[in-house]
Subunit: 316 residues, 2 copies
């Protein structure tokens, strides 16, 4: 199985020795340092057991690439620990590997190594992604400064909308809107092309996986600042507005799985960041500001706090 | 849970940011390259569900450190993807983390990052270990040359003996022998101190996890050579001889989980390798030679092939 389906994924990585050895080697260019992250995904927890295997593979890889991108890193490769249920089928593995091959081409990464084992439980995969960044330059959660502007890439809440549709909402939605939101849930778009543009501009950043407000809360905590968000500025897709109507903004900022990048930077860098986003083919929207204090506040157009402990939204 | 039990394991790793960020950064010193490996372990497959949590943690870490050592690498750190069953208990995690802390001290490594998730299935962990080696010097499986001598560290088969005891064998064995073999199964001794001594001496090496003969077969395959082993030279512990008697050698070389290092090197390097092993506190035994041809042959004192397809032994 390894020789047939996984070794071809490693053939461009010189240090992976075609997966015939116990380890991979990787050279980090002078002046660069390694950036590394790992995420585990479990069937029935992070994806549906009957999701298409290529989409499971691609989502697992993409959530890791998203972490690298949000730090300004350029991805290089990944390792895969795959625990297959005892009734695994070869055609499932073939499609799973084909999904990885597609994303390897899109994001210029290679499989570097891995481990395959059986499990009496659900399909479980852990991906460790490796990238590089100029030494000391990775953009952390902890660098936000009062006076910074807050930005986010893309649109927020679409993946949450896609999940809600799978759980039965939006039966009357136009098919194109249903499909668009569903795709955002199944196949996130990690902002790999935009990520390195953070270097030299962003003070703090992360990828939005827990929900925009919760994740900005992580930046606020790590940086010792308060983040004020203007509710009216949250970028929403037409599909999400159609699905959730007047609740769209509040639900969007408390949904997870966006895999957009949220960042803080001096307002003076907005033109440079906007230009870089344009080149990378993604929208960049200014949504708020960093202040002295702590926590996240979500403000209406009058500048009044919108409480986010509303029933149905996560409590933070 | 992360702040309480896992962040303290990362405090010595500057680039791990106390696990408060999405990634870790790691500098690879000039002239060195990264060596990386991943292994997944599943309860009920790789360990018993009721094994002590600190021993589960330490075995998972050690099997990865063993891979690095066998390549001549010096370990630096690791990432942990932990999928906990829904009925996980805090005291279990506390002991699990304490086991990691013990081995971090012994092997001078730090936790660099990780991911914790729940699973409806059995406890599953994937560890990715990172180390460094001088650029281009990692010892591969593929470098064995006809004329090389073959060596192995430590004693072979003890872990297999320990497993056999857990499965009901050896009821009459002396308690000290039972305990000694049991410990070898539960807690392998990765040859981390000896590993870097391979550099400059060994042509090929790996750690013995599938069984000595099967693993030497991997070297033979990757190197395009034949490996001849002298059965009488296989190093066995007194405990294993007491357990398995006249079958000890054959069962030992077809048991797994040894985590000793098997290597090939020019015979002229034997004194240097033996001296290095002595400093590292491990035995080194010459067990055979590399010849032209393919596969592994296992020879009795008359130089006759001993068939290894005997019932009860793995077929290769």
């Amino acid at each position: 199985m390894i020789a047939r389906y996984f070794a071809p994924l490693a053939e461009k990585a010189e240090g992976a020795a075609n997966l015939t050895d116990d380890v991979a080697t990787l050279r980090v260019p002078p002046g660069q340092e390694l950036v590394v992250t790992t995420d585990a995904l479990v069937a029935g927890v992070h994806f549906f057991e009957d999701d298409l295997p290529d989409l499971i593979a691609r989502k697992a890889l993409r959530v890791n690439l998203s972490d690298l991108a949000a730090k300004g890193a350029t991805p290089v490769g990944y390792l895969l620990a795959l625990s297959l249920p005892r009734d695994w089928r070869e055609d499932w593995v073939a499609v799973f590997a084909r999904g990885l091959a597609q994303d390897q081409d899109i994001f210029s990464v290679s499989l570097l190594g891995g481990d395959t084992t059986s499990t009496p439980g659900p399909l479980t995969l852990a991906i460790t992604a490796l990238g590089t960044v100029p030494e000391g330059r990775a953009v952390r959660r902890s660098g936000a400064k009062p006076g910074d502007a807050v930005f986010v890439t893309g649109t927020i809440g679409d993946a949450g909308g896609g999940l809600a549709i799978r759980q039965g909402e939006g039966a009357a939605l136009a098919p194109s809107h249903r499909d668009g939101l569903g795709a955002r849930y199944l196949l996130p778009e990690p902002r790999v092309a935009f990520g390195p543009s953070l270097l030299g501009f962003a003070h703090a950043s992360l990828d939005v996986s827990d929900g925009l407000v919760a994740d900005l809360g992580h930046i606020a905590d790590a940086s010792g600042v308060r983040i004020a968000i203007d509710a009216a500025s949250i970028p929403l897709s037409a599909a999400l507005r159609a699905l959730w109507g007047s609740e769209a903004t509040l639900r969007a900022v408390t949904s997870g799985d966006d895999y957009e990048i949220a960042l803080t930077a001096p307002a003076a860098h907005e033109p440079a960041l906007a230009a870089a986003a344009k080149v990378a083919g993604v929208a960049l929207t200014r949504i708020g500001r960093v202040e002295k204090g702590e926590g996240v506040v979500f403000l209406d157009v009058q500048g009044e706090d919108i409480p986010l402990t509303h029933a149905g939204f996560v409590h933070f």
